[in-house]
C-alpha cells in the first residue's frame, strides 16, 4: 500500500466522522465524534512526517473536547429546530458547485508528494551549514527553527492571538457588564 492510499483512507474516515458529527441529534455524541476526527487527524499528521503537529493536535484536541463537553453537558441537547428542506438543498447545490470549481483549480497544483520546494529548500539544504549537519540557527528541529527564528514574528502574532482570546473570554464572562444599569 502506498502512503497515498493510506492517507486517502484516513481522510475518508475523517469525512465519515465529520458527517456523523454534523448530522447526529444528540450534542454530546457529536462532540465526541468530532474528538475522534481530531485523533485521526493527529494520526494523519504522524504519517505525513509531521510529529510536532501530531503532538500539538492531540493535546489541543483533548483540551477542546473538555471545554466543549463542559459547555454541552446538562444542557438541552435534542430539541432544536431544523432548517426547511429547501434551504438544505440549495446549500447542498451551492457547496457541490464550489467543490467542482475547487477541483478544477486543484488540478493545476503540483501532484501529491511532489511539492515545488522553492523557498523551503533553503531551510532543509542551504540553511544547514557547511557540514550539512546542523542548521545555522543551532536547532536540530527545523520546524522549531522556523517558528522561533526565521519566522519568529509570526509566532509573536500567534502568542498574541491566544493572549487575546483569553482576555476575550475573561471579558465576556464578567458577571456584571455595566456599573449602574439604567
Amino acid at each position: 500500500m502506498t502512503v497515498e492510499t493510506i492517507i486517502s483512507f484516513l481522510i475518508f474516515l475523517m469525512i465519515l466522522g465529520a458527517v456523523v458529527a454534523v448530522e447526529l441529534k444528540d450534542l454530546l455524541s457529536s462532540v465526541v465524534s468530532i474528538g475522534a476526527v481530531g485523533v485521526i487527524l493527529s494520526l494523519t499528521f504522524l504519517l505525513l512526517q509531521a510529529p510536532d503537529l501530531a503532538i500539538v493536535q492531540l493535546v489541543v484536541e483533548i483540551l477542546a473536547l473538555i471545554i466543549l463537553i463542559r459547555a454541552t453537558v446538562t444542557r438541552d441537547s435534542v430539541n432544536y429546530s431544523q432548517r426547511e428542506i429547501f434551504v438544505k438543498v440549495v446549500t447542498m447545490i451551492g457547496v457541490v458547485v464550489f467543490l467542482i470549481s475547487l477541483v478544477s483549480i486543484i488540478k493545476l497544483l503540483p501532484p501529491f508528494g511532489e511539492p515545488k520546494l522553492k523557498v523551503a529548500s533553503y531551510y532543509i539544504t542551504e540553511g544547514l551549514g557547511i557540514k550539512n549537519n546542523i542548521s545555522e540557527t543551532g536547532a536540530a528541529n527545523i520546524v522549531s527553527s522556523i517558528i522561533l527564528d526565521y519566522r519568529a514574528y509570526d509566532t509573536l502574532g500567534e502568542a498574541t492571538v491566544l493572549f487575546c482570546a483569553v482576555l476575550g473570554v475573561l471579558a465576556v464572562m464578567r458577571k456584571v457588564g455595566r456599573k449602574n444599569e439604567r
Binding site: 523557498v119 482576555l167 457588564g177 456599573k179
Partner: protein, 502 residues
C-alpha cells in the same frame, strides 16, 4: 531610520501586555498608558511619512530577525501604507481619549484597554507586513480582539451580534487561509513581492485562470470582512452593539484595513487586476452603495443608521478604486480617509448622546442644540460631510468619484453615485431634525454637555472634516496623495521595487 517600522506593532503590544500585567491594580495607570501608546504611534506615523518622502525610491523595508526576504519576513512601508497608518493611528488616538470617560460606566476597564491595544497592533501589523501568512495572522489578531470588544457590554443582544460576527468572520478567514494554501502550493513562496515576481516569470498556460480564481476567492473572503453587500449582514448588528469608541474604530478603520487595504494590496500590487475582476469590484461597489443607503432610510436607531451608511460609503470607496483610472483611485482613497474621519466622528457623537440620554432612538432625542452645543456642532459637521455639502471633505471625494465615473464613460455608475448622495443627505436631514434640533417629547431637564475628554476628540475630528479638503491643493497633493495613487497605478512594479531593496 528604518528601525521605527516594527515599532508600530511593538508599542501597542507592549501597551496591551503591560495593561494586563499592571492595569488591574490601577485604573489611572491603564488610562495613561493607553493614551501614551496612541500618541506615540501617531507621532511615529508622521515621522515615517517624512522619512518616506526623503527616501529615493519612496519605499522603506525592514528585515525581521535579519533574514533576507523570501526566507524571513519583511516589513514594507510605502505611501499607501503610510496613508493607512496615519488614518488608523489618528482615529485610534481620538477613540482612546474618548474612552477615558465613556468607558467609566463599564467594569474592568483594563480588559477593554488591553483588547483595544491588541486590535491596534493587529491593524498596524496588517498594514506594514509584506508576507501573506503574516498578514493573515495579524488579520486574525485584529478580528479576534474586535469580536471580544463587540461583546464587551455583556448584554444579550451584544453577545448575539458578536456571535454572528464571529461565525461570518471565521468563515471569511478560512476562505482567506484556503487561498493562501493554494498560492503556497502553486508558487511555493509566501512573500508578497516574491509571489508576484514568480507568477510573472512562470510559464504555464493555466496561470491566468489560477490568478482569476484566487482573486475571486480573495474578493469573497475580504468582502465578508469589509461587509460588501451580499455579505453585509453582520455589520449593522456588530456596530450597533459595540461600545461607541469601538463602533467608531471598527467602522472607521478596522474594516478598511482588514478588508479594503488587504484586498487592494493583493489584487493591485501582487496579482495585477484584469478587466473582469475590476468590473466585479465596480458592481459590488454599486450594489453596496445602493442597498446600504436604502436600508439606512428606514432606521430610527441612530447607531444602526450610521452602520448602514457605512456600508453605502464603502461602496463609494470600492467604486472609485475599481474604476482603476488615476482620478478614480484618487477619489476612492481620499474618500477612504474622509470616511474614517467623519464616520468615527458621527459614532462618537452617538456615544455622547447615548451616554447622557440613555437611548439611541432618534424619536426620543431632540432639542439638544441648547443643552449639548458642542456635540450638536460635531454632529452637524459630520452629517454635512457625509452627505457631501460643499466646503467639507466628503464633498470633494464624492465629486472626484463622480467625475471619474463620467470620465471612464461609466455613466450609470455616476448616476447611481449622485442618487445615493441625495438619499444620504435626506437621511441625515432626518437625523438632525429629530435627533438634535427638533422638538422633543421627552423631558430633558437634567441634560448636560459630556465631559471634556469626550468633547476634545469630537472637536479634533470636526476640524479634520473642515480642513481635509486642503489635501487636494496641488502643492500639498504632490507630496502625499499623488504618491499614494502612484502605488496602485503602477501595480506590480511594487514587487520589483521591494525586491531590489530587500
Amino acid at each position: 531610520m528604518n528601525n521605527i517600522i516594527p515599532l508600530f506593532v511593538i508599542i501597542p503590544l507592549a501597551g496591551a501586555f503591560l495593561n494586563s500585567l499592571l492595569g488591574r491594580f490601577s485604573k489611572l495607570f491603564s488610562d495613561i498608558l493607553s493614551n501614551i501608546v496612541c500618541i506615540l504611534t501617531t507621532f511615529f506615523s508622521f515621522v515615517i511619512l517624512f522619512n518616506l518622502n526623503l527616501s529615493p525610491n519612496n519605499i522603506l523595508t525592514y528585515r525581521v530577525g535579519g533574514w533576507v526576504a523570501p526566507i524571513g519576513i519583511m516589513l514594507v512601508v510605502d505611501h499607501l501604507s503610510v496613508l493607512m497608518l496615519l488614518t488608523v493611528n489618528l482615529v485610534a488616538l481620538c477613540c482612546c481619549i474618548y474612552s477615558i470617560s465613556y468607558m467609566e460606566k463599564y467594569t474592568d476597564k483594563w480588559k477593554y484597554y488591553a483588547l483595544f491595544m491588541i486590535m491596534l497592533a493587529g491593524m498596524n501589523g496588517v498594514i506594514i507586513t509584506s508576507d501573506i501568512f503574516n498578514m493573515y495572522v495579524f488579520l486574525e489578531i485584529a478580528a479576534i480582539a474586535s469580536y471580544a470588544l463587540v461583546a464587551f457590554g455583556d448584554e444579550s443582544e451584544k453577545l448575539e451580534a458578536s456571535f454572528k460576527y464571529l461565525v461570518l468572520g471565521s468563515v471569511a478567514s478560512a476562505i482567506i487561509l484556503l487561498s493562501i494554501a493554494l498560492i503556497y502550493s502553486y508558487v511555493s513562496s509566501l512573500n508578497l513581492a516574491d509571489i508576484s515576481l514568480t507568477l510573472s516569470n512562470m510559464v504555464d498556460v493555466n496561470k491566468v485562470y489560477f490568478i482569476k480564481f484566487i482573486s475571486l476567492l480573495l474578493i469573497v473572503g475580504f468582502g465578508v470582512k469589509s461587509a460588501l453587500v451580499p455579505f453585509h449582514s453582520w455589520l449593522p448588528d456588530a456596530h450597533q452593539s459595540a461600545p461607541a469608541p469601538i463602533s467608531a474604530m471598527s467602522s472607521g478603520v478596522l474594516i478598511k484595513t482588514l478588508g479594503i487595504y488587504a484586498m487592494v494590496r493583493i489584487l493591485f500590487n501582487i496579482f495585477g487586476v484584469g478587466q473582469k475582476i475590476l468590473s466585479i469590484i465596480v458592481i459590488l461597489g454599486l450594489l453596496s452603495m445602493f442597498v446600504g443607503v436604502i436600508l439606512a432610510l428606514y432606521q430610527w436607531d441612530y447607531k444602526r443608521l450610521l452602520a448602514y451608511h457605512s456600508i453605502s460609503q464603502f461602496g463609494y470607496i470600492i467604486l472609485g478604486i475599481g474604476l482603476a483610472t488615476p482620478l478614480g483611485i484618487l477619489g476612492g482613497l481620499f474618500h477612504l480617509i474622509n470616511h474614517s474621519v467623519f464616520k468615527s466622528l458621527l459614532f462618537l457623537t452617538s456615544g455622547a448622546t447615548e451616554s447622557t440620554l440613555g437611548t439611541r432612538d432618534l424619536r426620543r432625542m431632540g432639542e439638544l442644540n441648547k443643552k449639548m452645543p458642542l456635540t450638536t456642532f460635531s454632529a452637524l459637521i459630520g452629517s454635512m460631510s457625509i452627505s457631501g455639502i460643499p466646503p467639507f471633505n466628503g464633498f470633494w471625494s464624492k465629486l472626484i468619484i463622480i467625475v471619474a465615473c463620467i470620465q471612464a464613460k461609466q455613466y450609470f455608475a455616476g448616476f447611481i453615485a449622485t442618487i445615493v448622495s441625495f438619499l444620504t443627505l435626506s437621511s441625515f436631514t432626518k437625523v438632525l431634525k429629530y435627533g438634535f434640533y427638533g422638538k422633543s417629547e421627552v423631558d430633558h431637564k437634567n441634560i448636560k454637555e459630556v465631559p471634556d475628554s469626550m468633547v476634545v476628540p469630537m472637536i479634533i475630528l470636526s476640524l479634520c472634516c473642515i480642513f481635509m479638503g486642503l489635501l487636494l491643493l496641488p502643492q500639498i497633493r504632490q507630496y502625499f496623495l499623488d504618491n499614494v495613487v502612484n502605488v496602485l497605478q503602477h501595480g506590480t512594479i511594487y514587487a520589483t521595487k521591494v525586491f531590489e531593496l530587500r
